[in-house]
Amino acid sequence: MSDSAELVKRLLKGDRRAAAKLITLVENDNNGQSAKIMHLLHPHTKKAYIVGVTGAPGSGKSTLTDRLTHELRTKEKTVGVIAVDPTSPFTGGALLGDRIRMKESCTDKGVFIRSMGTRGSLGGLSRATNNAIRILDAFGKDFILVETVGAGQSEVDIVNSAYTSIVILVPGMGDDIQAIKAGILEIGDIFVVNKADRDGADRTVMELEMMLELNPKKNVWRPPIIKTIASRGEGVEELLSCIEKHRSYLESNNLLEKRQDCRNESELMDVLSYRINKYLLDDLKQSGSYTDLLKKICEQKIDIYTAADEILKILWKKS
Protein backbone atom coordinates (compact mmCIF):
# COMPACT_ATOMS: atom_id res chain seq x y z
CA MET A 1 0.00 0.00 0.00
CA SER A 2 1.40 3.41 -0.97
CA ASP A 3 2.07 5.77 1.87
CA SER A 4 -0.66 8.38 1.90
CA ALA A 5 1.62 11.15 3.18
CA GLU A 6 3.92 10.56 0.23
CA LEU A 7 0.96 10.65 -2.14
CA VAL A 8 -0.24 13.94 -0.66
CA LYS A 9 3.20 15.43 -1.24
CA ARG A 10 3.13 14.31 -4.84
CA LEU A 11 -0.42 15.61 -5.28
CA LEU A 12 0.60 19.05 -4.11
CA LYS A 13 3.37 19.00 -6.71
CA GLY A 14 0.77 18.35 -9.41
CA ASP A 15 1.17 14.59 -9.89
CA ARG A 16 -2.11 13.34 -11.34
CA ARG A 17 -1.38 9.69 -10.59
CA ALA A 18 -1.13 10.64 -6.94
CA ALA A 19 -4.48 12.44 -7.19
CA ALA A 20 -6.03 9.33 -8.71
CA LYS A 21 -4.55 7.05 -6.06
CA LEU A 22 -5.70 9.30 -3.23
CA ILE A 23 -9.26 9.25 -4.54
CA THR A 24 -9.10 5.46 -4.58
CA LEU A 25 -7.88 5.47 -0.99
CA VAL A 26 -10.75 7.65 0.23
CA GLU A 27 -13.20 5.51 -1.73
CA ASN A 28 -12.01 2.31 -0.12
CA ASP A 29 -11.30 3.98 3.23
CA ASN A 30 -9.44 1.03 4.67
CA ASN A 31 -8.02 1.46 8.18
CA GLY A 32 -9.26 5.03 8.48
CA GLN A 33 -7.04 6.18 5.60
CA SER A 34 -9.48 8.97 4.70
CA ALA A 35 -9.03 10.62 8.07
CA LYS A 36 -5.27 10.81 7.64
CA ILE A 37 -5.46 12.07 4.06
CA MET A 38 -8.07 14.72 4.79
CA HIS A 39 -6.02 15.90 7.75
CA LEU A 40 -2.97 16.44 5.54
CA LEU A 41 -4.93 18.07 2.73
CA HIS A 42 -6.97 20.41 4.83
CA PRO A 43 -4.66 23.46 4.69
CA HIS A 44 -4.69 23.28 0.91
CA THR A 45 -8.43 23.28 0.34
CA LYS A 46 -11.22 25.87 0.07
CA LYS A 47 -9.90 27.39 -3.11
CA ALA A 48 -11.90 25.70 -5.83
CA TYR A 49 -15.35 26.77 -6.96
CA ILE A 50 -17.75 23.84 -6.84
CA VAL A 51 -20.57 23.47 -9.34
CA GLY A 52 -23.21 20.72 -9.16
CA VAL A 53 -24.88 19.34 -12.26
CA THR A 54 -28.00 17.28 -11.79
CA GLY A 55 -31.01 16.16 -13.79
CA ALA A 56 -32.93 13.10 -14.91
CA PRO A 57 -31.03 10.17 -16.46
CA GLY A 58 -30.15 10.92 -20.06
CA SER A 59 -30.94 14.63 -19.82
CA GLY A 60 -27.45 15.52 -21.03
CA LYS A 61 -25.52 16.08 -17.80
CA SER A 62 -22.26 14.56 -19.06
CA THR A 63 -22.46 16.23 -22.46
CA LEU A 64 -23.07 19.59 -20.84
CA THR A 65 -20.34 19.04 -18.25
CA ASP A 66 -17.92 18.29 -21.08
CA ARG A 67 -18.86 21.47 -22.93
CA LEU A 68 -18.70 23.54 -19.81
CA THR A 69 -15.25 22.14 -19.08
CA HIS A 70 -14.17 23.14 -22.56
CA GLU A 71 -15.59 26.63 -22.10
CA LEU A 72 -13.74 27.03 -18.80
CA ARG A 73 -10.53 25.88 -20.45
CA THR A 74 -10.78 28.58 -23.09
CA LYS A 75 -10.83 30.99 -20.14
CA GLU A 76 -7.69 29.26 -18.85
CA LYS A 77 -9.34 27.79 -15.79
CA THR A 78 -8.35 24.31 -14.69
CA VAL A 79 -11.17 21.87 -14.13
CA GLY A 80 -11.84 18.78 -12.05
CA VAL A 81 -14.84 16.65 -12.92
CA ILE A 82 -16.43 14.07 -10.66
CA ALA A 83 -19.10 11.97 -12.34
CA VAL A 84 -21.19 9.80 -10.07
CA ASP A 85 -23.11 6.78 -11.34
CA PRO A 86 -25.24 4.34 -9.36
CA THR A 87 -23.74 1.22 -7.82
CA SER A 88 -25.88 -1.87 -8.11
CA PRO A 89 -27.17 -2.67 -4.61
CA PHE A 90 -27.22 -6.35 -5.50
CA THR A 91 -23.75 -6.96 -6.88
CA GLY A 92 -21.83 -3.88 -5.69
CA GLY A 93 -20.66 -3.37 -9.26
CA ALA A 94 -21.19 -0.30 -11.38
CA LEU A 95 -21.07 0.73 -15.00
CA LEU A 96 -19.48 4.16 -15.09
CA GLY A 97 -20.30 5.54 -18.51
CA ASP A 98 -20.11 9.30 -18.22
CA ARG A 99 -16.74 9.44 -19.93
CA ILE A 100 -18.33 8.40 -23.21
CA ARG A 101 -19.58 12.00 -23.48
CA MET A 102 -16.45 13.59 -22.08
CA LYS A 103 -14.00 13.01 -24.88
CA GLU A 104 -13.35 16.62 -25.67
CA SER A 105 -11.19 17.31 -22.64
CA CYS A 106 -9.93 13.91 -21.70
CA THR A 107 -6.29 14.35 -22.70
CA ASP A 108 -6.08 17.99 -21.65
CA LYS A 109 -3.61 18.21 -18.77
CA GLY A 110 -5.63 21.02 -17.21
CA VAL A 111 -8.56 18.68 -16.72
CA PHE A 112 -8.95 15.74 -14.36
CA ILE A 113 -12.00 13.51 -14.70
CA ARG A 114 -12.97 10.84 -12.20
CA SER A 115 -15.94 8.48 -12.31
CA MET A 116 -17.31 7.18 -9.04
CA GLY A 117 -19.93 4.64 -8.04
CA THR A 118 -22.34 5.62 -5.29
CA ARG A 119 -21.26 2.46 -3.43
CA GLY A 120 -22.90 2.29 -0.02
CA SER A 121 -24.58 5.66 0.06
CA LEU A 122 -28.24 5.76 -0.85
CA GLY A 123 -27.86 7.32 -4.25
CA GLY A 124 -26.64 10.48 -2.61
CA LEU A 125 -23.32 12.20 -2.60
CA SER A 126 -21.21 9.99 -0.44
CA ARG A 127 -18.48 10.88 2.00
CA ALA A 128 -16.07 9.60 -0.62
CA THR A 129 -17.41 12.06 -3.17
CA ASN A 130 -17.00 14.95 -0.79
CA ASN A 131 -13.46 13.84 -0.02
CA ALA A 132 -12.71 13.50 -3.73
CA ILE A 133 -13.89 17.08 -4.21
CA ARG A 134 -11.42 18.18 -1.55
CA ILE A 135 -8.63 16.19 -3.15
CA LEU A 136 -9.18 17.90 -6.50
CA ASP A 137 -9.42 21.21 -4.67
CA ALA A 138 -6.01 20.66 -3.07
CA PHE A 139 -4.77 19.46 -6.46
CA GLY A 140 -5.32 23.04 -7.55
CA LYS A 141 -8.31 22.83 -9.85
CA ASP A 142 -10.06 26.20 -10.19
CA PHE A 143 -13.45 24.67 -10.85
CA ILE A 144 -14.86 21.33 -9.78
CA LEU A 145 -17.92 20.09 -11.63
CA VAL A 146 -19.87 17.31 -9.94
CA GLU A 147 -22.31 15.31 -12.04
CA THR A 148 -24.70 13.44 -9.77
CA VAL A 149 -27.01 10.53 -10.35
CA GLY A 150 -30.19 12.14 -11.52
CA ALA A 151 -32.50 10.60 -9.02
CA GLY A 152 -33.95 11.30 -5.64
CA GLN A 153 -31.76 12.21 -2.74
CA SER A 154 -28.59 13.02 -4.64
CA GLU A 155 -30.27 15.97 -6.30
CA VAL A 156 -30.88 17.43 -2.90
CA ASP A 157 -27.52 16.39 -1.49
CA ILE A 158 -25.60 18.26 -4.13
CA VAL A 159 -26.83 21.52 -2.67
CA ASN A 160 -24.86 20.86 0.47
CA SER A 161 -21.65 20.46 -1.50
CA ALA A 162 -21.91 22.81 -4.46
CA TYR A 163 -21.86 26.60 -4.48
CA THR A 164 -23.83 26.77 -7.72
CA SER A 165 -26.29 24.00 -8.55
CA ILE A 166 -27.43 23.50 -12.11
CA VAL A 167 -30.62 21.54 -12.70
CA ILE A 168 -31.15 20.15 -16.20
CA LEU A 169 -34.58 19.55 -17.68
CA VAL A 170 -35.49 18.43 -21.16
CA PRO A 171 -38.52 19.27 -23.31
CA GLY A 172 -41.21 16.77 -23.90
CA MET A 173 -42.18 16.30 -20.33
CA GLY A 174 -45.43 18.01 -21.30
CA ASP A 175 -47.90 18.23 -18.49
CA ASP A 176 -45.54 16.20 -16.41
CA ILE A 177 -43.60 19.28 -15.50
CA GLN A 178 -46.16 19.72 -12.77
CA ALA A 179 -45.06 16.41 -11.46
CA ILE A 180 -41.43 17.41 -11.05
CA LYS A 181 -40.56 16.67 -7.52
CA ALA A 182 -41.20 19.70 -5.37
CA GLY A 183 -37.61 19.73 -4.17
CA ILE A 184 -36.11 20.40 -7.55
CA LEU A 185 -37.26 24.00 -7.75
CA GLU A 186 -35.61 24.91 -4.50
CA ILE A 187 -32.24 23.42 -5.34
CA GLY A 188 -31.56 25.00 -8.72
CA ASP A 189 -29.49 28.18 -8.80
CA ILE A 190 -29.58 27.90 -12.57
CA PHE A 191 -32.02 25.90 -14.69
CA VAL A 192 -31.06 24.49 -18.05
CA VAL A 193 -33.55 23.28 -20.61
CA ASN A 194 -31.26 21.04 -22.65
CA LYS A 195 -32.06 19.37 -25.97
CA ALA A 196 -33.56 22.64 -27.13
CA ASP A 197 -33.34 21.24 -30.65
CA ARG A 198 -36.40 19.21 -29.73
CA ASP A 199 -40.00 20.37 -29.89
CA GLY A 200 -41.45 21.97 -26.83
CA ALA A 201 -38.36 23.65 -25.39
CA ASP A 202 -40.04 27.04 -25.19
CA ARG A 203 -43.02 25.53 -23.50
CA THR A 204 -40.83 23.86 -20.90
CA VAL A 205 -39.10 27.18 -20.27
CA MET A 206 -42.47 28.90 -19.86
CA GLU A 207 -43.83 26.30 -17.50
CA LEU A 208 -40.67 26.39 -15.47
CA GLU A 209 -40.89 30.18 -15.26
CA MET A 210 -44.42 29.91 -13.98
CA MET A 211 -43.48 27.39 -11.38
CA LEU A 212 -40.54 29.46 -10.18
CA GLU A 213 -42.88 32.45 -10.00
CA LEU A 214 -45.22 30.51 -7.75
CA ASN A 215 -42.39 29.36 -5.57
CA PRO A 216 -42.90 31.15 -2.27
CA LYS A 217 -39.22 30.97 -1.33
CA LYS A 218 -38.29 33.93 -3.47
CA ASN A 219 -34.77 35.20 -3.06
CA VAL A 220 -32.95 38.18 -4.41
CA TRP A 221 -31.36 35.72 -6.80
CA ARG A 222 -33.81 34.77 -9.51
CA PRO A 223 -32.66 31.47 -11.00
CA PRO A 224 -32.15 32.06 -14.71
CA ILE A 225 -33.45 29.54 -17.22
CA ILE A 226 -31.17 28.81 -20.15
CA LYS A 227 -31.85 26.83 -23.28
CA THR A 228 -28.97 24.69 -24.46
CA ILE A 229 -28.16 22.16 -27.13
CA ALA A 230 -25.32 20.49 -25.29
CA SER A 231 -24.50 18.11 -28.11
CA ARG A 232 -23.65 21.12 -30.31
CA GLY A 233 -22.29 23.32 -27.55
CA GLU A 234 -25.04 25.90 -28.00
CA GLY A 235 -25.94 27.99 -24.98
CA VAL A 236 -22.90 26.87 -23.03
CA GLU A 237 -21.23 30.27 -23.09
CA GLU A 238 -24.36 31.81 -21.65
CA LEU A 239 -24.50 29.08 -19.01
CA LEU A 240 -20.96 29.87 -17.90
CA SER A 241 -21.72 33.56 -17.70
CA CYS A 242 -24.71 32.72 -15.48
CA ILE A 243 -22.44 30.67 -13.24
CA GLU A 244 -20.09 33.65 -12.99
CA LYS A 245 -23.02 35.94 -12.19
CA HIS A 246 -24.26 33.61 -9.49
CA ARG A 247 -20.78 33.43 -8.06
CA SER A 248 -20.47 37.22 -7.84
CA TYR A 249 -23.93 37.38 -6.31
CA LEU A 250 -22.86 34.92 -3.61
CA GLU A 251 -19.56 36.69 -3.04
CA SER A 252 -20.96 40.19 -2.83
CA ASN A 253 -23.62 39.14 -0.33
CA ASN A 254 -21.40 37.08 1.95
CA LEU A 255 -23.34 34.05 0.84
CA LEU A 256 -20.38 32.08 -0.44
CA GLU A 257 -19.02 31.88 3.10
CA LYS A 258 -22.43 30.74 4.21
CA ARG A 259 -22.55 27.98 1.62
CA GLN A 260 -19.08 26.87 2.62
CA ASP A 261 -20.11 26.78 6.28
CA CYS A 262 -23.16 24.80 5.32
CA ARG A 263 -21.02 22.36 3.38
CA ASN A 264 -18.67 21.96 6.31
CA GLU A 265 -21.50 21.29 8.68
CA SER A 266 -23.13 18.71 6.47
CA GLU A 267 -19.81 16.91 6.07
CA LEU A 268 -19.14 17.04 9.79
CA MET A 269 -22.55 15.53 10.50
CA ASP A 270 -21.88 12.91 7.90
CA VAL A 271 -18.56 11.88 9.40
CA LEU A 272 -20.02 11.92 12.90
CA SER A 273 -22.99 9.77 12.09
CA TYR A 274 -20.74 7.37 10.21
CA ARG A 275 -18.41 7.08 13.17
CA ILE A 276 -21.19 6.81 15.71
CA ASN A 277 -22.63 4.01 13.68
CA LYS A 278 -19.36 2.30 13.11
CA TYR A 279 -17.67 2.58 16.47
CA LEU A 280 -20.38 3.06 19.07
CA LEU A 281 -22.94 0.74 17.60
CA ASP A 282 -20.42 -1.88 16.57
CA ASP A 283 -19.00 -1.78 20.09
CA LEU A 284 -22.42 -1.99 21.56
CA LYS A 285 -23.38 -5.00 19.51
CA GLN A 286 -20.46 -6.85 21.05
CA SER A 287 -21.69 -6.10 24.55
CA GLY A 288 -23.72 -8.50 26.66
CA SER A 289 -26.47 -6.07 27.57
CA TYR A 290 -27.30 -5.53 23.90
CA THR A 291 -27.70 -9.25 23.30
CA ASP A 292 -29.72 -9.63 26.50
CA LEU A 293 -32.10 -6.83 25.61
CA LEU A 294 -32.51 -8.06 22.06
CA LYS A 295 -33.34 -11.48 23.43
CA LYS A 296 -35.97 -9.97 25.72
CA ILE A 297 -37.54 -8.18 22.76
CA CYS A 298 -37.66 -11.38 20.79
CA GLU A 299 -39.23 -13.19 23.72
CA GLN A 300 -41.89 -10.49 23.72
CA LYS A 301 -40.93 -9.47 27.28
CA ILE A 302 -40.04 -5.90 26.49
CA ASP A 303 -40.81 -3.47 23.65
CA ILE A 304 -38.27 -2.00 21.26
CA TYR A 305 -38.43 1.58 22.56
CA THR A 306 -37.90 0.56 26.15
CA ALA A 307 -34.94 -1.55 25.09
CA ALA A 308 -33.49 1.37 23.11
CA ASP A 309 -33.86 3.61 26.17
CA GLU A 310 -31.99 1.06 28.25
CA ILE A 311 -29.21 0.85 25.70
CA LEU A 312 -28.88 4.63 25.48
CA LYS A 313 -28.62 4.80 29.28
CA ILE A 314 -25.70 2.38 29.12
CA LEU A 315 -24.07 4.47 26.38
CA TRP A 316 -24.40 7.75 28.29
CA LYS A 317 -22.86 6.17 31.37
CA LYS A 318 -19.89 5.03 29.32
CA SER A 319 -19.09 8.40 27.83
Binding site: R17, A20, K21, S88, T91, G93, A94, S115
Partner: protein
Protein backbone atom coordinates in the same frame (compact mmCIF):
# COMPACT_ATOMS: atom_id res chain seq x y z
CA UNK B 1 -14.85 -1.11 3.28
CA UNK B 2 -13.50 -3.47 0.69
CA UNK B 3 -11.18 -2.94 -2.20
CA UNK B 4 -13.14 -2.94 -5.41
CA UNK B 5 -11.66 -3.93 -8.74
CA UNK B 6 -11.82 -1.05 -11.21
CA UNK B 7 -11.44 -1.79 -14.89
CA UNK B 8 -11.41 0.42 -17.96
CA UNK B 9 -13.17 -0.93 -21.04
CA UNK B 10 -12.33 0.82 -24.25
CA UNK B 11 -12.36 0.38 -27.98
CA UNK B 12 -9.36 1.86 -29.68
CA UNK B 13 -9.23 2.19 -33.42
CA UNK B 14 -11.78 2.85 -36.04
CA UNK B 15 -14.22 -0.02 -36.19
CA UNK B 16 -17.66 0.64 -34.79
CA UNK B 17 -18.70 -2.64 -33.26
CA UNK B 18 -19.30 -2.32 -29.57
CA UNK B 19 -21.76 -5.10 -28.91
CA UNK B 20 -19.14 -7.53 -27.62
CA UNK B 21 -17.41 -5.09 -25.33
CA UNK B 22 -20.73 -3.99 -23.85
CA UNK B 23 -21.64 -7.58 -23.02
CA UNK B 24 -18.32 -8.04 -21.25
CA UNK B 25 -18.68 -4.69 -19.46
CA UNK B 26 -22.05 -5.71 -18.06
CA UNK B 27 -20.77 -9.11 -17.00
CA UNK B 28 -17.88 -7.51 -15.12
CA UNK B 29 -20.26 -5.10 -13.43
CA UNK B 30 -22.48 -8.00 -12.42
CA UNK B 31 -19.41 -9.65 -10.95
CA UNK B 32 -19.10 -6.66 -8.62
CA UNK B 33 -16.48 -4.62 -10.45
CA UNK B 34 -16.53 -0.93 -11.24
CA UNK B 35 -16.35 -0.70 -15.00
CA UNK B 36 -15.35 2.59 -16.56
CA UNK B 37 -16.65 2.45 -20.10
CA UNK B 38 -15.25 5.05 -22.46
CA UNK B 39 -16.82 4.00 -25.72
CA UNK B 40 -15.68 3.86 -29.30
CA UNK B 41 -12.83 5.33 -31.30
CA UNK B 42 -10.42 5.93 -28.47
CA UNK B 43 -6.84 6.91 -29.16
CA UNK B 44 -4.08 5.23 -27.13
CA UNK B 45 -3.44 8.60 -25.44
CA UNK B 46 -7.08 8.90 -24.39
CA UNK B 47 -7.12 5.35 -23.08
CA UNK B 48 -3.96 5.68 -21.00
CA UNK B 49 -4.96 9.08 -19.64
CA UNK B 50 -8.37 7.74 -18.62
CA UNK B 51 -6.77 4.69 -17.01
CA UNK B 52 -4.51 6.93 -14.93
CA UNK B 53 -7.20 9.37 -13.81
CA UNK B 54 -9.60 6.56 -13.01
CA UNK B 55 -6.85 4.61 -11.23
CA UNK B 56 -8.00 1.33 -12.72
CA UNK B 57 -6.42 -2.00 -11.86
CA UNK B 58 -6.89 -3.36 -15.34
CA UNK B 59 -8.03 -2.50 -18.83
CA UNK B 60 -9.92 -4.47 -21.42
CA UNK B 61 -9.42 -3.38 -25.00
CA UNK B 62 -11.52 -4.65 -27.82
CA UNK B 63 -9.87 -4.48 -31.22
CA UNK B 64 -11.53 -5.82 -34.33
CA UNK B 65 -9.98 -3.60 -36.92
CA UNK B 66 -6.79 -5.60 -37.28
CA UNK B 67 -4.72 -2.73 -35.96
CA UNK B 68 -3.76 -4.59 -32.80
CA UNK B 69 -0.06 -4.77 -33.63
CA UNK B 70 0.02 -0.98 -33.77
CA UNK B 71 -2.37 -0.10 -30.97
CA UNK B 72 -1.30 -2.46 -28.18
CA UNK B 73 2.42 -1.55 -28.29
CA UNK B 74 1.52 2.14 -28.30
CA UNK B 75 -0.63 1.70 -25.21
CA UNK B 76 2.00 -0.37 -23.42
CA UNK B 77 4.64 2.28 -24.21
CA UNK B 78 2.43 5.07 -22.91
CA UNK B 79 1.73 3.15 -19.72
CA UNK B 80 5.46 2.71 -19.21
CA UNK B 81 6.30 6.34 -19.84
CA UNK B 82 3.65 7.27 -17.26
CA UNK B 83 4.98 4.78 -14.70
CA UNK B 84 1.68 2.95 -14.92
CA UNK B 85 2.82 -0.44 -16.17
CA UNK B 86 1.29 -2.05 -13.10
CA UNK B 87 -2.09 -1.74 -14.83
CA UNK B 88 -3.06 -5.12 -16.24
CA UNK B 89 -3.63 -4.98 -19.99
CA UNK B 90 -6.04 -7.47 -21.52
CA UNK B 91 -7.65 -7.52 -24.91
CA UNK B 92 -10.28 -9.16 -27.01
CA UNK B 93 -10.99 -9.57 -30.67
CA UNK B 94 -9.91 -11.63 -33.59
CA UNK B 95 -6.15 -11.85 -33.26
CA UNK B 96 -3.95 -14.49 -34.96
CA UNK B 97 -2.04 -16.89 -32.73
CA UNK B 98 1.43 -15.72 -33.72
CA UNK B 99 0.43 -12.12 -32.94
CA UNK B 100 -0.84 -13.17 -29.53
CA UNK B 101 2.58 -14.58 -28.70
CA UNK B 102 4.20 -11.38 -29.85
CA UNK B 103 1.79 -9.20 -27.85
CA UNK B 104 2.35 -11.22 -24.70
CA UNK B 105 6.07 -10.67 -25.02
CA UNK B 106 5.40 -6.94 -25.18
CA UNK B 107 3.42 -7.00 -21.96
CA UNK B 108 -0.18 -7.71 -22.89
CA UNK B 109 -1.35 -10.00 -20.12
CA UNK B 110 -4.14 -11.92 -21.85
CA UNK B 111 -6.08 -12.00 -25.10
CA UNK B 112 -9.61 -13.37 -25.11
CA UNK B 113 -10.78 -14.62 -28.46
CA UNK B 114 -14.35 -14.38 -29.72
CA UNK B 115 -16.75 -16.54 -27.76
CA UNK B 116 -14.67 -16.64 -24.58
CA UNK B 117 -17.15 -17.17 -21.73
CA UNK B 118 -17.41 -14.04 -19.59
CA UNK B 119 -16.91 -16.21 -16.51
CA UNK B 120 -13.43 -17.00 -17.76
CA UNK B 121 -12.63 -13.31 -18.24
CA UNK B 122 -13.95 -12.46 -14.77
CA UNK B 123 -11.89 -15.22 -13.20
CA UNK B 124 -8.76 -14.12 -14.99
CA UNK B 125 -9.13 -10.48 -13.92
CA UNK B 126 -9.91 -11.37 -10.33
CA UNK B 127 -6.89 -13.64 -10.10
CA UNK B 128 -4.41 -11.37 -11.83
CA UNK B 129 -5.16 -7.92 -10.51
CA UNK B 130 -2.46 -6.89 -8.06
CA UNK B 131 -3.76 -6.03 -4.64
Amino acid sequence: MDKKIRILMAKPGLDGHDRGIKVVARALRDAGMEVVYTGLHQTPEQIVEAAIQEDVDAMGLSILSGAHMALFPKIIDLLKSNNAEDILVTGGGIIPKEDIEELKKMGVSAIFGPGTPTTEIIKYIEENVKN
